[in-house]
Point group: C2
Chain length 330, copies 2
């Protein structure tokens, strides 16, 4: 456990070193300053770690996947910057979001630039499978946009099902982890069988990761989370918890409190009292427990997918990685 964490810290440091090289440009200032700001805002570099770990699990070396892992982190940051505009979010990682600190135009352009620079780093990858890598990466860009599109559409709909929710998070969240994992495996020159394992491992982790995210929005400590508690409720996001609550609650009064969030497209006032009331309803009907079980279920599935990966330290690290993700409190 501690050994894996030490490796994670070591790799994170290397990733940060390479990332630092992406933000040395000074002009135009309104473009590169916000880019530096978001990349220096204390990201956990989870996706680069997944790229590198999957590369190693398929027989490659950390350096083979380093530029690609940085490309994935840049792409991830593009989604953060643009999603924060669309969600009108004030805070990210405890800091002001770019569109609040500068303005919306700066944030749009900074996100666009991050996509370009992401490809630039991807193209630095030395691999006979570079074209496949760029293809997978591009598929990732497209599906992440589709996922975000569904997420925004769902905010305005009152009949979203849990089935649709899972389709949406497969694209919005899981696809980026899947892309990270497959790109890592390709950097190691992995064949179809291993790639398929790695892909499914990451897709399952991705689902668990998003449900965990939904759970943390209501169940975490705000200062740890780096943003306001209950933000999803205020925005009217269709989370696992909200949809599950609609499915299981029969009591008229409690159900109507939940449904009002749906019909009003978000908590009307959004103050802490309302948010805590919803949290109590979630607790009362076992919604929090149900989310935790879902997370365990998908983490378990992820583990099972690793059957084609040879036993050893790298496989153990992938198991540690999913446990670490699900144990996070922010």
């Amino acid at each position: 456990m501690t050994e894996h964490y030490e490796v994670y810290k070591k790799y994170k440091k290397r990733v940060d070193e390479v990332l630092a090289g992406a933000i040395t440009k000074k002009h135009p200032e309104t473009l590169y300053e916000p880019m530096r700001y978001i990349l220096n805002s204390g990201g956990k570099r989870i996706r680069p770690m997944l790229v590198i770990s999957c590369c190693e699990a398929c027989g490659g070396k950390m350096e083979d996947a380093l530029n690609a892992s940085v490309a994935i982190e840049l792409l991830h940051n593009f989604t953060l910057v643009h999603d924060d505009i669309m969600d009108n979010a004030d805070k990210r990682r405890g800091m002001e979001t770019i569109h609040k600190k500068w303005n919306q135009n700066v944030a749009i352009l900074c996100g666009d630039l991050l996509i370009g620079v992401a490809y630039l780093y991807l193209l630095k990858t030395k691999s006979g499978k570079l074209n496949e890598i760029i293809n997978i990466f591009t598929e990732g860009v497209i599906e992440v946009c589709e996922g975000q599109g569904y997420d925004k559409e769902f905010e305005k709909r009152d009949d979203v099902t849990l089935y649709e929710y899972k389709m949406m998070i497969s694209k919005k969240t899981a696809k980026m982890l899947e892309t990270s994992a497959v790109v890592g495996a390709l950097c190691a020159g992995a064949g179809d069988e291993k790639i398929s394992s790695i892909r499914q491992y990451a897709a399952n982790i991705g689902i668990a990761f998003q449900i965990q995210d939904d759970l943390l929005d209501i169940n975490a400590d705000g200062s740890e989370l780096g943003k306001n508690i209950g933000g999803d409720l205020v925005e009217g996001k269709k989370t696992y918890l909200l949809l599950k609550a609609i499915e299981v609650i029969n009591d008229k009064q409690d159900k109507s409190k939940i449904e009002n969030i749906v019909y009003q497209q978000g908590l009307k006032s959004g103050n802490m009292k309302d948010i805590l009331e919803i949290k109590n309803i979630y607790n009362k009907y076992g919604i929090i427990e149900s989310a935790k079980k879902e997370i365990e279920h998908y983490t378990g599935l992820a583990d099972e997918c690793l059957n084609t990966i040879p036993d050893g330290v790298y496989k153990e690290r992938l198991r540690w990685f999913s446990e670490m993700l699900m144990g996070r409190s922010f």
Copy 2:
């Protein structure tokens, strides 16, 4: 002349056919519907024509460059969608802009998707030089963002020089034409010498093209232009005409009218009377004439760059292409 125009129409039709294949997806609706809308809004497909013509001038065939030419058009449309948000533009090609017809979030996400789909089409290109092509394309994405960043910064500055203006338009406008041309040449497998010629040809056309754009903003017929006359003045854009006027006008009253646009970051009222007054000042001091001479100068330079391209119909078509661009009234 007519023969080249016939070829242009034929190629435009092929480009439109391939583009139609990019927009067959139905869901999420708020993503693919605006994408269909912008791609069906009557673009002239100038950049795809440049890709294909440069491919042919370097010995390739139209089909070699077709997917790449569609990728360039998709990328160009991404810049239109995002720039229109940033410039708060209401109309484009005579139609409502996406952020006005839908909303801003839809426009942000639609632009992002266009980048992804652009790469998808680029990757369909069958060429031994695919990695170089993707590299050039990616450089293009980054520089276009930088150009737009400078353009927005310049709106807020009162000391922009003509030198800085040319640097900005080299990135914002000329780079996309340069990228089109070099990608086309690479699709034909061209060597360094030809690529260098083609690159400089397109870079010069790009400068002429933007000055022409600046000129049309004040000098065109609004219905032909597909957007409102004088939009650049209203937004406080640092155009060639505005910067040249500041440079040459000494008369106190006329100079202060021009400088007020700069200091107020745009025409305060933006009504037709004010716009026509500025146009009269431009005419009085030969600013319109000066812009026309600049356009001729850069078009001439572009022609001279074609010295490494063998004489014949394809070279003539590149000459026709730049004349056609500069003769446009919209």
